[in-house]
């Protein structure tokens, strides 16, 4: 976009200047809450308490040190990884299986199957909480899988719930993507005697890499950001992933906004890094399907 307009020299039009001024102001305004959090996180509480927040000075990185230690961020980041990594891999694997079958074979049930998966992604989670909560407290797990010995308060439970909820979206996107692959590929593979599994694993999946990359980026962000299930299906404070541990953090940091801001910045860092590194994938994933070609 920028490259196109940069190449041509056009006379500066007042309308454009107004447009840039307007968009610039909006953009800075939009970034402001985040910038404010970053700014506050680098200032000492004593300084801002004495001089107010509308001031400059009192620079320090102590807030980060304190926040990291009191809120035990190291542990919670690790918990987030335990949940996010398997959940994303499993979601992509299961969703691509279903999508493959939907795209490869035409059954009368295909539309129903697609609807069943897609709709599951859109239901309000809170509406399913009551039976699910009860179910999780009834299903036993061996002690080596979870010290709670139940699906409730275990990483396994959270992974499964996230997978079940995220599958629908991925099935939808992937099945559309796979439907666009030329069918001759499979015919050629069948001539070679390739089994259905090999067609899926060696023909279809490699061709779906762009879609899988976009979905993986998106799903990592979403599952990392997931708040509700971890809040209600976990009990042990030590096992909470980062996003839900925010809830406990509120009590500890309540009186010190500088600590709150340092904590917020720490929690935001993984998603911001993903966003800046994989911005294209992220946007592509969100708008997958919004435009042709």
């Amino acid at each position: 976009m920028t490259a196109v307009s940069a190449g041509r020299r056009r006379p500066v039009r007042p309308a454009r200047v107004v447009l840039h001024l307007f968009l610039g102001t909006v953009a800075v305004g939009w970034l402001f809450p985040i910038l404010w959090a970053v700014l506050t996180s680098f200032r000492s509480y004593e300084y801002t308490a004495a001089n107010g927040y509308v001031s400059l000075g009192g620079w320090t990185i102590d807030n980060y040190v304190t926040a990291w230690r009191t809120a035990e961020f190291g542990k919670h980041f690790l918990n987030s990884a335990y949940i996010t990594v398997p959940a994303v891999l499993l979601t992509l694997f299961l969703a691509s299986c279903v999508a493959f079958v939907i795209a490869r074979f035409s059954w009368k049930l295909n539309i129903a199957l697609l609807g069943l998966f897609t709709a599951a992604n859109l239901l309000p989670q809170q509406a399913l909480l009551i039976p699910l909560f009860r179910m999780f407290t009834e299903i036993p797990l061996p002690a080596w899988m979870s010290d709670s010995e139940l699906l409730y308060d275990s990483y396994w439970g959270l992974i499964l719930v996230n997978v079940a909820f995220q599958c629908g979206f991925c099935v939808f996107v992937l099945s559309n993507y796979m439907k666009a692959l030329p069918h001759e590929l499979y015919e050629a593979a069948m001539v070679d005697g390739a089994s259905v599994w090999r067609q899926y694993w060696q023909v279809t999946l490699p061709l779906c890499r762009p879609a899988l990359a976009a979905l993986a980026t998106l799903e990592v962000t979403w599952i990392y950001n997931e708040f509700f299930w971890a809040t209600v299906l976990m009990r042990t404070g030590d096992k909470f992933p980062v996003t839900s541990s925010l809830n406990n953090l509120r009590g500890e940091f309540f009186t010190d906004n500088n600590l709150v801001s340092a904590g917020s910045v720490l929690v935001a860092i993984p998603t911001l890094v993903i966003f800046f590194l994989l911005q294209k994938q992220f946007v592509r994933g969100l708008t997958l399907g919004a435009s042709k070609g």
């Binding site: 970034l31 074979f105 539309i111 030329p182 708040f227 919004a290």
Partner: protein, 318 residues
Amino acid sequence: MSDLPLIQADRAVPPPAATTTNGGRGRRLRLLSRTDRVVVTLMVLVPLLLVTGLVWLPAVATVLLSGTNWDGIGPISEIEWVGAKNYDDVVNIYPPFVPAVQNNLLWLAALFVVATPIGMFLAVLLDKELRGSRFYQTALYLPVVLSLALIGFIWQLIYSRDQGLLNGVFGGETDWYGDPNVNIWAVLVAAGWRHVGYIMLLYLAGLKGVDPSLREAAAVDGSSETSTFFRVVFPVMRPINIIVLVVTVIESLRAFDLVWVINKGRNGLELISALVTQNVVGEASRIGFGSALATIMLAVSLVFITIYLWTVMREDKR
């Protein structure tokens, strides 16, 4: 989880090869070997069981439980059927219900009437080939990657009574998150902050898909930019408009994280989703009653999910 992405039949990622006729698909199912048939069955069955077991069965169970007086502790055999009593109680003797419905509707109105048009307007501006458009876009959708729980924290730095920026600059004494007269508005600003970027992104992608010759034709006919948008471009984006509408409704219904991190959905921040949760994980475990609330949510969401599926599936067939 709070994102409902735009999903539609056409692809933003171009498929690696040209589409061909799909006439051959499916006819050969009967020719599959026994192993292949087992594999195909497993590929569908395992994910299906997971989604049915963890999403659809609980949904059905919620509806069933809403007609009972179960307290969640006693054995299933002691459950008594009470008919519509729970619904009657929800509406008539549960004080937070009316504020919660009002807040959910307010949430919907704020996102739909304020945030969505702003997002659309910004998308239209950014759709012009502007220098620095990337920067503007990035700034606007940066909040979309943050969780709503985290957004609650970030805005606390602005809203807090003693240490917040708002009172620091204007010298007020308002506790923006705590005062039940204003807190829902404060929260809506934060929710809208995120929603605008999200809608902007969806419309921006939608606008790129609009055939440029339509606009050129309108321009040749002497139509102004504004009237071209409303008479030509906007109607062409109809599927996206419907999807944005549904996304906004469902987001408003699922709103939860933001109010839960602030005060667990009390004191001016009641939402139906928070009430359901309070009735289950709180001290008072009122299963039948909470299920009635949850069923109301389910019913509303299913109406819009149907519209959504109908729209995307129809696009699919084209």
